[in-house]
Amino acid sequence: MRDNPVLRVVTKITIPIILLFAMYVQFHGDYGPGGGFQAGVIFAAAFILYGLVFGTSAVRQVVSPGILRLLTALGLLLFAGVGILTMLLGSDYLDYNTLGQDPLHGQHLGIFLVELGVGITVAAVMITVFLAFAGRRD
């Protein structure tokens, strides 16, 4: 598909827009529909589009399997780590009230970190699964 000039050019134009939209959905999940899961999937969709048009080796050059393995675990570690952090600060597991100077700030920060962890892991897992399936017959 990389021989088709229309596909190539349109993909190169739309992929940054998709990535930007994914980050918008991630960070505005508090004020409108959105959040970690949707943002992670849209972020992965940009990479999948790149892989469909330019081939899986191109995606592997952009994001190597080692980085993907690391990111998969990093998001989950971030989520669980926020819980451990609140325990170290004196209250229950995943009680965000202690994270900021007052409960509302703490909740905002806690939700931000937790959704970030969710977005990272979901994006990494979706790209991993796509590379595993599409790279099977390379």
Partner: protein
């Protein structure tokens, strides 16, 4: 008539049963997994339609709105959708490996090969 107010649920139950039928009546493994996904999607519609409040709006707090739809089914179904895609990915990976091991993805041929061992 209060029975007519339930026709929503009956149509959704019909959709669930078509998904269920695809799972148990097809021999191809990939089609079975597609059937499971159809079943799951219709179960989601059932739950979300139970959470709707007439005259309500989406559960995003705004100044001009009094009644909101119930946010709790939305949270549960969000989790369920993501878990569903995780199990679909794993199931399809298993089908790919089965095809490489047996040479076919049809249930009858796989059983025949297993019995003839």
């Amino acid at each position: 008539m209060e029975v007519l107010a339930l026709y929503n649920y009956w149509v959704v139950i019909f959709l669930m049963m078509t998904g269920f039928y695809v799972v148990i009546a097809s021999g191809n493994l990939v089609k079975k997994i597609i059937g499971i996904n159809l079943f799951q999607a219709s179960v989601f519609i059932l739950y979300i339609s139970m959470g709707k409040v007439s005259g309500g709006s989406a559960p995003i707090l705004r100044e001009a709105v009094q009644t909101y739809s119930n946010p709790l089914p939305h949270v549960l179904i969000l989790t369920a959708i993501v878990v569903g895609v995780a199990t679909t990915a794993l199931g399809l990976a298993l089908v790919v490996r089965i095809k490489e091991a047996y040479g076919t993805a049809e249930e009858d041929d796989i059983h025949r090969q297993d019995e003839s061992l």
